[in-house]
């Protein structure tokens, strides 16, 4: 469960101060499927970074699974990122000199999981994301869709509680994009919280709960009754 209370994030641009997030209160239960939409600069990526513990709020409290995580030190936050959160980025962020399999393996290596178990889990992930024949290819040799599949495999390999996707289809064409979304939704169906930041209204509408932001504030927050 994600619980934000009074979260404020201020950036200083020269002598200007920008309230990227302004007193955000938001609770997301485990297993929810949330989309965050809004124009550029509305603070949606900053919100995602704070939820993912990549960024620290200037004010406010963040509770993750009933534990206040805002005050944890860097190493503890890294551990939470490793174990509870999976990131999917618009630009994939694969390590260019590692093969697809090695990229998927990275979080397991950081988690100190023994090589034998790692190999097995990577193998399973390659199968699940239909990447077996691409395992030894480097990112440069993969198509955009394949790269994002590798990235999702990497984000899910530690079986995180939440997947945070920042414009996951932004660099993909429509058809490949919807394939990628299906993969993300599949992992949501197995119980993972899914938070997607997007420009794409159509994509945003697929989520059960849609949040729109403007100027660092939550503008609307509505839940579909369909499920």
């Amino acid at each position: 469960m994600i619980c934000l209370a009074g979260i404020t994030r201020i950036f200083h641009m020269g002598d200007q101060t920008v309230h990227a997030l302004n007193d955000i209160n938001l609770t997301i239960s485990s297993g929810e499927y949330v989309s965050i939409m809004g124009p550029s600069g509305s603070g949606k990526s900053t919100l995602l970074n704070i939820i993912g513990l990549l960024d620290k709020p200037d004010h406010g409290n963040y509770e993750l699974d009933d534990k206040i995580v805002t005050d944890l030190n860097e190493t503890e936050q890294a551990q939470i990122r490793r174990e509870k959160i999976g990131f999917v980025f618009q630009t994939f962020h694969l390590v260019p000199r590692l093969s697809a399999a090695e990229n998927i393996e990275l979080p397991l290596i950081l988690g100190g999981i023994p090589p034998k178990e790692r190999r097995q889990r990577v193998q399973e992930a390659l199968l699940a994301f239909n990447l077996e024949d691409r395992a030894q290819h480097r990112p440069a040799e993969l198509s955009g869709g394949q790269r994002q599949r590798v990235a999702i495999a990497r984000a899910t390999i530690m079986q995180p509680k939440a997947i945070l996707a920042d414009e996951p289809t932004g660099n993909l064409d429509h058809q490949i994009g919807s394939e990628v979304i299906h993969l993300l939704e599949k992992s949501h169906q197995s119980g993972t919280t899914l938070i997607v930041v997007t420009h794409d209204r159509e994509l945003g509408a697929r989520a059960h709960r849609q949040i729109t932001m403007r100027d660092g504030k939550i503008q609307t927050d509505q839940t579909n009754d369909t499920d």
Binding site: N49, G52, L54, D55, E74, T75, A78, Q79, R81, R82, E83, G86, F87, F89, H93, V95, R97, L98, E102, L106, P107, I109, L110, G111, G112, R154, A155, M158
Partner: protein
């Protein structure tokens, strides 16, 4: 993240930036090789000189007439006296000193050596039978002036002279003339080549009495003394000085040089020189360290997004720091090992090119070269590693 995974991951990184890694390793290994080759050269020169000195004899003392130390006014000068010469009597007195194992008086001159139709000028050494063991010379044939036979007209020829005058290798027992005086060849020296600027292959040795009458002198050029052992050198020196003072009516007018002192001085000078050269070579290691630091800083810049990603998927600052640190460690380790091998190979080439020079790098230099390489590598990685570790993940990830 386990240690093995860290080692593997950073090793993979090095392998994927092949040219960059090769260049750093090259720089590092050249530095290490320079330290090793230059110390091999310096230490080889030192050992060469030390060997040369020990080849002229062990526990050797040289007694010279005159005084080589400045002190209060020399009373004899007022009376118009010059320092007394060394005489055979002095040599015999020295022979009685308990710390002295044996002594050889020495006169040196030039005379004309002739046999049948052959003729040449040679350096003549006048001495006794002890000269051979004291100066570590060897005979290839015959015998040297037999002990106590100082009056017999024997002559020992240097190897080259024997070959020139008696090409049929039958020198022993032949007659030969030295400035018109007849001598009987009793022995031939083993070829030794040049030692201390003195070629023993082109000298003849005759008994001291004959040399003194040949050169019409009663004084000695030197007295070579061999002390009983290493520890007897200093007491022997003092005893000789005392004996000479007594013999010369209370005048301190002889000088005794111990081979040890000369040897030690040269040893010290050349050792210092080796150290200095090693120090200069070590600067190239530091330069290689700076190169590593530069390259690692560039690497941090190049891999900013990657570092951001590693943080996003759960790497903490210590993990990132260790990755960069180990990467630099691999580079400097490879540089050190390859440099060590290069250095040994270079020393081998030196030894092949100059067989006389024992150009072996001393163990301390090899060790120091490798350790300095590792330490500079480690130090050079600290700043880049900490810079990488403290990157803000959000800005790192958003870098294009």
């Amino acid at each position: 993240m386990t240690l093995i995974d860290t080692l593997q991951l950073s090793f993979k990184t090095i392998m994927s930036y092949r040219i960059r890694s090769l260049l750093i390793i090259l720089a590092m290994s050249l530095g290490v090789a320079a330290v090793i080759v230059l110390t091999a050269l310096g230490d080889g020169a030192r050992r060469y000189v030390v060997n040369q000195f020990s080849s002229i004899g062990t526990n050797l003392l040289v007694v010279m007439p005159g005084r080589a130390e400045t002190s209060g006014s020399f009373p004899g000068a007022v009376l118009g006296q010059t320092p007394r010469d060394l005489t055979l009597k002095d040599a015999q007195l020295i022979g009685r000193i308990p710390q002295v194992k044996r002594y050889a008086p020495l006169n040196v001159g030039v005379a004309e050596l002739s046999a049948a139709t052959r003729l040449r000028e040679v350096t003549v050494l006048g001495s006794n039978a002890n000269l051979i063991p004291i100066r570590h010379m060897k005979l290839s044939q015959g015998s040297f002036l037999t002990q106590g036979s100082a009056r017999s007209a024997q002559i020992v020829l240097g190897a080259k002279l024997a070959k020139e005058f008696f090409p049929n290798n039958n020198a022993i027992g032949q007659r030969i003339r030295l400035d018109g005086n007849r001598f009987l060849v009793s022995g031939v020296l083993v070829p030794q080549g040049e030692s201390m600027g003195f070629n023993t292959d082109e000298v003849v040795i005759i008994p001291i009495d004959y040399a003194q009458s040949l050169f019409n002198t009663t004084s000695l050029f030197r007295i070579l003394v061999e002390a009983k052992n290493r520890h007897a050198i200093q007491p022997a020196k003092q005893a000789i000085l005392d004996t000479m003072k007594e013999s010369h009516d209370g005048e301190d007018d002889t000088t005794v040089i111990t081979q040890d002192a000369v040897l030690e001085t040269f040893d010290r000078i050349l050792h210092a020189l080796t150290l200095a050269v090693a120090g200069i070579a070590a600067i190239s290691l530091i330069v290689a360290g700076v190169l590593i630091m530069n390259v690692m800083l560039v690497a941090v810049n190049q891999r900013t997004t990657e570092i951001g990603l590693l943080k996003a998927i759960g790497a903490n600052t210590a993990d990132i720091r260790r990755l960069f640190f180990v990467e630099a460690l691999w580079l400097s380790l490879a540089g050190a090992v390859i440099g060590f091998m290069l250095g040994q190979f270079g020393s081998l080439l030196l030894r092949l090119a100059y067989p006389l020079l024992p150009a072996w790098a001393p163990a301390w230099a090899c060790l120091a070269g490798i350790i300095v390489a590792l330490i500079t590598g480690i130090l050079a990685s600290l700043l880049p590693a900490s810079r990488a570790a403290h990157l803000n993940p959000v800005t790192a990830l958003s870098k294009k």
